[in-house]
């Protein structure tokens, strides 16, 4: 079965650089979520989109932005990177209705040096 696809899987950037992560949801899933998991931490909700509109916002820094495109894929843009942004970034997708299972991708490892 198709899963959530994230790219790149690993990314190394220097401080103050910009990074873009991509997420391709499971077909027919109209809702996309982004989570950040720091080393040894639990996943923290960043932002979600439903039908290309932002549906909820969590602890996402102002330096970060995201959007969902017409083909439902989503991109997370991170600017002015800081060392503390080093983390595993998960994308997840689900059908909209509450209670539907939310499926996660394998994650994108971002290392800021």
């Amino acid at each position: 079965a198709a899963g959530v696809i994230q790219s790149p899987r690993h990314l190394i950037k220097e401080k103050r650089e910009t990074a873009t992560l991509k997420c391709y949801p499971i077909p027919r899933h109209d809702t996309v979520y982004w989570y950040q998991q720091g080393p040894g931490q639990d996943p923290q909700f960043l932002i979600s989109f439903y039908e290309k509109m932002q549906s909820d916002k969590g602890s996402i820094p102002d330096r970060f932005s995201a959007q969902q495109f017409s083909d439902y894929h989503s991109e997370l843009n991170m600017s002015s990177l800081e060392l503390g942004d080093s983390a595993l970034y998960f994308c997840a997708s689900s059908p909209r209705a509450s209670g539907n299972t939310i499926y996660f991708g394998e994650g994108s490892w971002l290392t800021v040096v």
Binding site: T31, D42, S48, I102, Y103, F104, E106
Partner: protein, 113 residues
């Protein structure tokens, strides 16, 4: 505030013995409750969920969980542990109004041969 607690950082169990990973939650309304498992350097894999109905929910890989409304708990169980079950387990209530998962700190399960 919505929250979830996994009181044990680590659970150690011998292979073949039953295991329990504890979870309590504080979520308004009738919660939807999920368990996810994370293997090293991997994404979050869905194990099982409780939406409504029977308090005992069966999931993947022989895992099950018992919903207890009066104790606001959703403990994960397995009758006979395998070494391959060793991983990080997350309990996650769904904040239904926004279809957002709230993750606990996670419990590391170590199954010894």
């Amino acid at each position: 505030a919505q929250s979830v607690a996994q009181p044990e950082d680590q659970v150690n169990v011998a292979e073949g013995n039953p295991l329990t990973v504890k979870c309590t939650y504080s979520v308004s309304g009738n919660p939807y409750l999920f368990w996810y498992v994370q293997y090293p350097n991997r994404g979050l894999q869905f194990l099982l969920k409780y939406i409504t109905g029977d308090n005992l929910v069966k999931g993947s890989y022989g895992f099950e969980a018992e919903f207890n409304k009066s104790q606001t708990s959703f403990h994960l169980k397995k009758p006979s542990a395998l070494v391959s079950d060793s991983a990080l387990y997350f309990c996650a209530p769904l904040y239904g109004g926004y279809n957002k998962l709230i993750f606990g700190a996670g419990t590391r399960l170590a199954v010894h041969p």
